[in-house]
Subunit: 467 residues, 2 copies
Amino acid sequence: VFRTITSVFKRHGAVQIDTPVFELRETLLGKYGEDQKLIYDLKDQGGELLSLRYDLTVPLARYCGSNAVEKLKRFHIGKVYRRDEPQMNRGRFREFYQCDIDICGSYDPMLPDAEILAVLVEILGSLPLGGEGEGGGFMVKLNHRKLLDALMGSCGVPPEKFRAICSAIDKLDKEPWEAVRKEMVEVKGLDGGAADLIGGFVVNEALTSKACGGTAGLVAKMKTEQRLATGGGKPELAKMFEDACEDLLTLDMYLRNLGAADKIVLDLSLARGLDYYTGVIYEAVVLGAGVGSVAAGGRYDRLVGSFSSRDVPAVGVSIGVERVFAVIERRLGIAVAPPSADGETGAAASAPASGTMSTVRQNTTDVLVCGIGGEEVVQAKRLALTRMLWDAGIACEFVYKKNANLKRQMDLASEQKIPILAMVGGEEVQKGTVKVRRLFHSDAEREAAGGEDAEKEVKESELVAAI
Amino acid sequence: VFRTITSVFKRHGAVQIDTPVFELRETLLGKYGEDQKLIYDLKDQGGELLSLRYDLTVPLARYCGSNAVEKLKRFHIGKVYRRDEPQMNRGRFREFYQCDIDICGSYDPMLPDAEILAVLVEILGSLPLGGEGEGGGFMVKLNHRKLLDALMGSCGVPPEKFRAICSAIDKLDKEPWEAVRKEMVEVKGLDGGAADLIGGFVVNEALTSKACGGTAGLVAKMKTEQRLATGGGKPELAKMFEDACEDLLTLDMYLRNLGAADKIVLDLSLARGLDYYTGVIYEAVVLGAGVGSVAAGGRYDRLVGSFSSRDVPAVGVSIGVERVFAVIERRLGIAVAPPSADGETGAAASAPASGTMSTVRQNTTDVLVCGIGGEEVVQAKRLALTRMLWDAGIACEFVYKKNANLKRQMDLASEQKIPILAMVGGEEVQKGTVKVRRLFHSDAEREAAGGEDAEKEVKESELVAAI
């Protein structure tokens, strides 16, 4: 999975950049909305007040800001940290990998945005997420912050409540409208009438991509909505709405050119809780997987500027690898290479032995060098032959026993499915030879090789070539 | 460098295992001697008290202990965290990579130890650490905790002071004997006579590998030392000394068999500050590099047992990649791929722009797809062709401008040294063709290709093949 993601990132010309796992606490404050409480702070042990990175986006922006970077297309695969309740089966951890790609710099509208979405579709499309049927396993929900702001403003939400109401809308994928409306009115103090107006847009079957035949259709439909088109009587909101619509139409055209449009669905109820987005936002979900979104991102044109004197527009996406793993594992019914030995992450949880590691080996050893008999010359030769194979780049091992009998060594080879034995006894040492035996760990292997356990004796100097 | 290290680890049959970056604070306490103060603690925000890992060894032991692992040969490349003063030019950071390989399990004495040392020598020997002359650039100092304990005991150090005096001896590579003796006597409260007796062993030209012609010679020489041989009159110390000598001789024999002995130097003044070692200890230094040790390790037979009801003997080594980088950079006089974009690590330090990233690109883009002219069909074709190349696995990009002129696109290609242009204009779109041009970014490249800027026009369907 990591290899797939990295290769797509590179195919799009991105360079790999790493930023530190710590950031100054003040760097992270005010960036994550209500989820700010999930930031891990370090104890004040003298020196700066530090926190662990919550994502890879804010550190990138800090890096661009403090190094006066104006253009950068970078990717970063690294761990981030959140003080959350781990839910292993849903792929939620306190320490997890994000795979990010971002394009920073001033460019023509929507071209970088379209490439980022194309990258996302390309990556998810090349992973075994299942469901060749409807939607091909996954879809990417798309929305635009300006559209949301215009919509909220037109419905009578005061600007200072935009972010809070946005957070509430963001919960629509988990909660019914009634619960969200209640939060808006009772917790966030929004007028009930305004909440109902919002509901008329964000939970309205008629205002979906599906009902309107795609992004362009939905945009056209929205333009017929008087309240949106006039900004509820406020010209600046009408302009904002108009801008957002134009962005979405341009983006849709580019996505069609890039062959990525059929996975992208404009969805007015997508809000994204983070504070720093300023333009398009998106979230990828795997249909029927029940792990929440597997990737998310958007445009953040003013985040770099918060760390320096000038803004650098930027757009990016984060892929949550653990959630992707969770989906793949469930689909295939097997354990995919887990990103971490301690699945629970955060050591703290009571350690669940996810398969006893004591018997599971995943090494790639090709040769077991065996000594037959305990004479010192045999033991010395055993190590010297191993050395010779290592020097030739061959993965090999010997058992950590001075004079193990052959049976025991063969048992180990068969337990670990090592395919070749190189054997020396006193006689071979004298003759300067080695016995090489090919082992078959299944009938299929044996058949493929013609049925016999091939064993041959070669000169020491020919050992590497014989293997 | 990471690739070299990983390939050697795999060639020795190790499996890769990751452990979390957090550990319970109590897991880390009492493991690191006086350096315990360098552990980063997380703030108490509710939940467990956590710290960041200080190394990869204690987390491995905790993992083996809590998952009842009895045998494991694993490697782990990961970051560790220390509240230290960063010294960039010496390769010291607060966040840095360690590359560890460890062999856990009960085996015949010194066989796993010998392999770990062989791995270390193999890795360091394959890195461009320079100095083909004496010592081949690096050497590995070797000692044995039991030898040190027997030595200290024989000289009259009470057992409860062993670790403290060990820490003092450990500073001999940075401080003269007088300063170390002073610390022993004035800070650690050791009897002056005992300190002098220790000095007679650990700073004695006659008791070095060099003077005695290697490990076996030095061991033989030590055996003639009455005080060591008799344990200062204490039979249990004499036995301990005898055991350590036998271990060292056995190890020396295996190392000779494995062809790694000539890099290993028994050194009585090597002590290692960490609490958990119980057998052989070692440290690799690059001759004349001034970065301290680049790798260190040893045997820790009781660490796993501290996390479970049964001991699992183990031995391992950690390689400090940043220090290796520092050495290579200094030798070659160039900047080697830095492990992190923010060299200073810990974000907190005042950001030093180590080369303005705004102009440096390190991507691997092979093709720039160019549109000539602003017509919509050209722009659409530009993106569609890019899509075609991506699908074919070719790394390509387009400029984020709607109708960039060709000059501008060629400038970008030449700035980023992209070797191939794929160009479409209105005419090509009509004919269904693409112009492919090979660019030369240096005279050498041009000459190698026969001197001419090759440009050809191919059918769209033949574009992938033409590139």
